[in-house]
Symmetry: C2
Subunit: 426 residues, 2 copies
């Protein structure tokens, strides 16, 4: 077949890359468990090894041949994971902790933002940001602060699921806070994008964002969630009773997955992360008579797709930036370390918003630590529009990675300790 | 997220396209079953509707945004289907009918090739090919003949599986013949590519292909199959007993799928279709102690992936070419119809190679009718190197589609008739 063109990702590559993704994720997941670590940590490490900066088996950088395909599959993987978790979650429990989740989400957004903002001003004072136009310092600080706000719930959800802790009070608060966090992230993205665009057009900071436009973003996101859950609950039982009457093979599973994908699609349309839609779909289908069968059949599908997500997260790590013997890496690593500390402290403090008895504040705080795609999107926007230098961009990327890798082992320790303060276990 | 680039296939599109693929394939599959047709026929029709020439929801033409991703997933889908079918097939049964399968494959390659070759000479005589350099007629005839040779076993395998006929003698012969067919197709592709390349460089037909190079292609393909099955059988039991000792979730399923993907990869490396490798992997794992668990867990995964293959096959159909009121379509449709008849007759005759009692020759013949990717690859090569006019290319595409759509209903009728000639049922 030598006469074929080679401008596309070949089917051979695809098969072997998929095989290695599945093998590496299971082997490293197993190794992690053997040394009493969450298996997802092993999968992340496997991703680093398969990624562009080590073995380069998985296309890990946008623009690489085949990257789009793996990226799309990774998104499907994490959506199926959150759908599965939604299926195991009772909406009533979420609503019960709704107020607490909201407080946790707000603290976890405001504190890291403020600390990140302040850090950038300090860096600027000591000339660590390089040659930066002083008029832009505030905009840089706002954008960097924004990268610290959004929690990526995939990692935490996976650890909670693996530890059979999805039914704990902590899990409910974290899941609820993650949904609210995504809405807040959306609003911040709207504001920051507006600020950057207006500064580009010379209007100056603050000129481009109206309260009305922020309100519209909020209403769209919130309206979607309410509508999805209400309309979903009204129609899903009848729909799935109809599905049960069909004879073709696999129809229940495929209907459930399609349901999740449509919700993911609608969430994307209003600007939310697809996983928020998938999670809502799971919450809705948890009320159908067929939810046990759906849960059982979705498991093998999740087993195939979700490792792709965790491998791709790991694969995005560029290990060369961690080499302290390369002079250029030093300022990047210092900034990254400070932002990382700020990121961890900020989310840990969010646990203080919990006043329920028997809930471990530290678990909540740690569960909110992982940052992910939304942070990277902010960094990408900053880089594209010249607000971030490539060093600051790299530092943010490193911060995101560190938060992702630190959360699984910390969560395991926190849960194992059986209560971290006298007050918590009271 | 308006600041992102849009040069890649968006995640929203991907989610909604996947959802519609799954929904359409099940709804049309159900409709097909209700009118007593195989559900795969419904899925093919669903593909036509979702494809570029009707709703354009699924990117169905190479080069379209997102096409590569769906194409790769379709290949994975049909590989998982053949892996599943391999799991349900006993290698000993295949070897038992090996001689018969070989005869069936050879007749089914030689007869359609000869008939196709002759048809092109007739078309040329009556000026139906347009302005063609007479020196090239033989090369055109050879390439067109080649497009008629290779059976695409995915459709037939699916129908046999849906009808619970995989354990029938007919199914074994068809599966064995399809594997041999792929090896023969490979040799023909080597020969035709060589002829085309040597005619390009002015050496003239016949100059570029040595018996040695054909021998090497054959040895590589055949060697792979033997080695895969022998080494696979020697190692797989130990390997899967080891896998059973691992604790992480989904490890058995993912090991089995990785095994199938690695075999698919190796098959591609020697030039065979990936599905031949996946089928061999299934045959090997059918001998492990874990094969029942593997079979059970692969089902939901197959349910998700295989519809993508059948939808993509249907989506490739350009319905506009069937409009007889467009003058340009008339010669295309006439040539396509003749090639289609030749394609059907040629494969039906291959059933005559069967001399076992109790085997329906007609089922074998019909089961070998569907042409697929390999035929289209020949046509693509012909078009790229200027051997085929775009009309002849379109005609071949239509022929491939017609064979694909005719086979499922014919197979159902043939099996239902319970014996088609006195000799058969004797």
């Amino acid at each position: 077949m030598s006469l074929e063109e080679s401008s596309h990702y070949s089917i051979e590559h695809f098969f072997i890359a998929l095989a290695l993704i599945l093998i590496f994720s299971k082997v490293f997941g197993e190794l992690a468990e053997r040394i009493k670590q969450p298996s997802v940590l092993g999968e992340l490490v496997a991703g680093v090894i398969l990624g562009g900066s080590v073995l380069a088996i998985v296309p890990s950088v946008p623009g690489m041949l085949g990257y789009d395909t793996f990226h799309l599959l990774a998104e499907v993987g994490v959506a199926i994971l959150l759908f599965e978790i939604g299926l195991e979650t009772d909406l009533k429990d979420l609503i019960k902790v709704g107020f607490t989740s909201t407080i946790v989400a707000i603290i976890g957004v405001v504190v890291p933002f403020a600390l990140g903002f302040a850090s950038i001003l300090v860096f600027e004072k000591y000339g660590m940001l390089g040659n930066v136009d002083p008029n832009f310092t505030i905009l840089i600080a706002i954008t960097a602060g924004a990268t610290l706000t959004a929690t990526s719930v995939g990692i935490t959800a996976r650890v909670l699921s693996d530890m059979n802790r999805l039914q704990s009070g902590e899990a409910k608060i974290i899941l609820g806070a993650a949904v609210i966090d995504d809405i807040l992230g959306l609003i911040i993205l709207g504001v920051v994008s507006g600020l950057i665009e207006s500064s580009e057009s010379g209007v100056g900071v603050g000129g481009g964002v109206s309260a009305a436009s922020v309100g519209i973003i909020f209403l769209k996101a919130f309206g979607f969630l309410i509508a999805a859950i209400v309309i979903g609950n009204l129609t899903s039982k009848r729909l799935f009773n109809l599905v049960e009457k069909m004879r073709v093979r696999g129809v229940l599973l495929l209907s459930a997955i399609s349901f999740a994908f449509i919700f993911s699609y609608l969430a994307s349309l209003v600007g939310l992360a697809p996983i928020v839609g998938a999670f809502a779909a799971g919450l809705v289908l948890a009320n159908t008579h067929q939810f046990k069968s759906i849960e059982e059949r979705i498991k093998p599908v999740a087993d195939v797709f979700t490792p792709i997500f965790f491998i791709m997260v790991g694969a995005a790590v560029d290990v060369s930036v961690f080499n302290p013997f390369v002079k250029e890496n030093i300022p990047i690593l210092i900034i990254a370390l400070v932002l990382f500390i700020v990121a961890v402290v900020g989310k840990l403090l969010s646990g203080l918003g919990v006043f329920q008895k028997g809930i471990k504040k530290s678990v909540i705080g740690v569960g909110m630590i992982p940052r992910g795609e939304v942070g990277l999107i902010f960094a990408q926007v900053g880089l594209t529009y010249g607000v971030f230098t490539s060093e600051l961009f790299s530092a943010v990327t490193v911060m995101v990675m560190l938060t992702t890798f630190i959360a699984p082992p910390l969560l395991k320790i926190m849960f194992a300790r059986g209560g971290d303060t006298a007050e918590d276990s009271a």
